[in-house]
Amino acid sequence: MTESRGNAPMPAWLLPGLGLLVILLFFLSLGVGTMPLPLTGTLAALFRGESSLETLLLLELRLPRALLGLLVGASLGLAGAAMQGFLRNPLAEPGVIGVSSCAAFGAVLAFYSGISLTFPLALPLGGIGGAFLSVLLLHLLAGREASTLSIILAGVAINAFSAALTSLVLNFAPNPYAALEIIFWIMGSLADRSMEHVQLVAPIMLLGWLLLLASGRGLDALTLGEDTAASLGIDLGYLRLKLILGTALAVGAAVAVSGAIGFVGLVVPHLLRPLVGQQPARLLPASALGGAALLLAADLLVRLLPTGPELKLGVVTALVGAPIFLLLLHRLRREMAE
């Protein structure tokens, strides 16, 4: 991490390019499904105000799926970049350090207890509660100058514990199908979601994004250490609150409707960091767009692969993400040895 790289200007094409990629993948996502839907014709019919089976498929099945791919991916990418800056740890990521699995536990409690039937907002609130607790716990455990390794190990413990609690709740759940649904909560999927899910979580995610994006300048200062950041006039307490709340809102709401999809927040900031010149403030919006693109692409892949039952999204993101995680670990060890 040299000074020259740190100040390298961000290429002007990066954000517009990523934005274009997201739009392209979004429309591809609308066009791909189990049945051949003529996308342009259906869109035209939609604009003429006609309603048919095709417009219904597009509006109520394809659109929520594409929207959630975009929203959840952006939330995970953004939260990953923010946590890496916050914990000053390149391996920090909602999935790896247990935030997603804690969020899944909270959502599982709200969903299978039946509370969310009468009070739908309980589902994202459960997710947010779980995510908030885990980020807070990590922050307390990791303390001021925690080593990379201790945060990851704390994450391993939080992950294992919340996965066990999730499994416990599902096995006690009164609905006989519940126990089999752990794979959704641990691996994540966007299949058969509806616009109701989108409406439920989109405003919450947007709020979380605002909090995280507003932390950019603070994160930039934090790269110089907490004391320097404080001397630059950054209110560290307020910054931490924004980051913890923003992460909890974005990740908690995302996991509540899609399950815990891992590694998106790890892969995307890692790939984009060299391009933005190591500055968290620039990395945040780029990671949000990159996360949306990655998840939309992964969700396209699971629909195109000829598997019997559809593959869970977390399988794809882990296949891509876990090798990158190992690579990062290897590089960190080398840097520490030098």
Binding site: L53, L56, G114, S116, N175, Y177, D192, P309, E310
Partner: protein, 288 residues
């Protein structure tokens, strides 16, 4: 060879029937400590036997989400098909499904407890044969005959299915499972005048159908389980997806409780009547 003489005393048609189904074990004339290890057997047992002759039924019999006799179970001991639960009851007849609770059944067989296999039937003919066989084994053949007669009368009262092309129906279950050929559900759909999407419209599907594919085949009727599942699951959430609600207006959907047509019994006629009236509704709707 003791049991052959017992069989001899029964009416000849029954003996023929019993021989056709090949029971290899004899049972007391009216067994009085009967245990059932299977939901479908529970239902026949509770309907055909005297209550004091029943020693135990499965825990599923008491679950109104799947059982049509849940209100009749009351204080009967419930079992989960485990040998330790069954042996202390000293059963003199055990009703079991041929492919489940095998280890318990093998143990009971070694102890020479009479076992009657109660397979899941797939046609009305098999249902009637099963009712006759089970009622005979319970020592109550007359009750079985009465049940068969009342089912036949109920079917006759419904008359033939409406004229015209047979509409397409899909039975959609939690997690998006369709019910396919070789099942009672398929038979009842056919008798009600429908074509079953899973039997006729689709090829090589693995049992699960996405909402998108389901809508794509434009079935005329969507048959759902009872939607009164009190506690949520993702599997049930599929059935209340807004796309299904918008694609199938009230006229094109019907709710049939799974307990009515999962097993052979009088519930089948109730399911048939429900579907027949849905078929009439559709025929009138398209005729206008």
């Amino acid at each position: 060879m003791r049991f052959i003489c017992k069989v001899c005393r029964w009416p000849s048609w029954l003996a023929a029937l019993l021989l056709a189904f090949g029971p290899s074990v004899g049972w007391a004339e009216t067994p009085s400590r009967i245990v059932s290890l299977n939901l479908c057997a529970d239902e026949l047992l509770l309907r055909l036997a005297d209550r004091e002759d029943i020693a135990s039924v499965t825990f599923l019999a008491a679950d109104s989400r799947v059982s049509s006799v849940a209100d009749q179970v009351e204080s009967l001991p419930l079992n989960r098909g485990r040998a330790e639960e069954i042996l202390p009851l000293k059963p003199d007849l055990v009703l079991a499904e041929p492919y489940t609770t095998r280890s318990t059944v093998e143990l009971l067989r070694r102890l020479e407890v009479p076992i009657l296999d109660v397979a899941v039937p797939s046609t009305l003919e098999e249902v009637e044969a099963q009712i006759a066989e089970v009622s005979a084994a319970l020592g109550r053949p007359d009750r079985g005959q009465a049940m068969i007669k009342s089912m036949r009368q109920a079917q006759a009262r419904l008359g033939p299915p409406p004229e015209g092309p047979r509409p397409l129906a899909a039975v959609y279950r939690p997690n998006g499972f369709l019910v396919g050929p070789g099942t009672l559900v398929d038979e009842i759909l056919r008798l009600a005048g429908f074509r079953n999407l899973a039997s006729e419209g689709l090829q090589n599907h693995n049992g699960v159908l996405s909402i998108e594919t389901l809508l794509w085949h434009r079935p005329d009727l969507l048959v759902l389980n009872s939607i009164e599942e009190p506690m949520p699951s993702l599997a049930h959430e599929v059935l209340s997806h807004p796309a299904l609600e918008d694609a199938f207006p009230e006229m094109q959907r019907v709710v049939v409780h799974p307990a009515l047509w999962s097993c052979g019994g009088p519930g089948l006629m109730e399911a048939l009547a429900k579907l027949r009236s849905a078929a009439k509704r559709l025929a009138m709707g398209s005729g206008e």
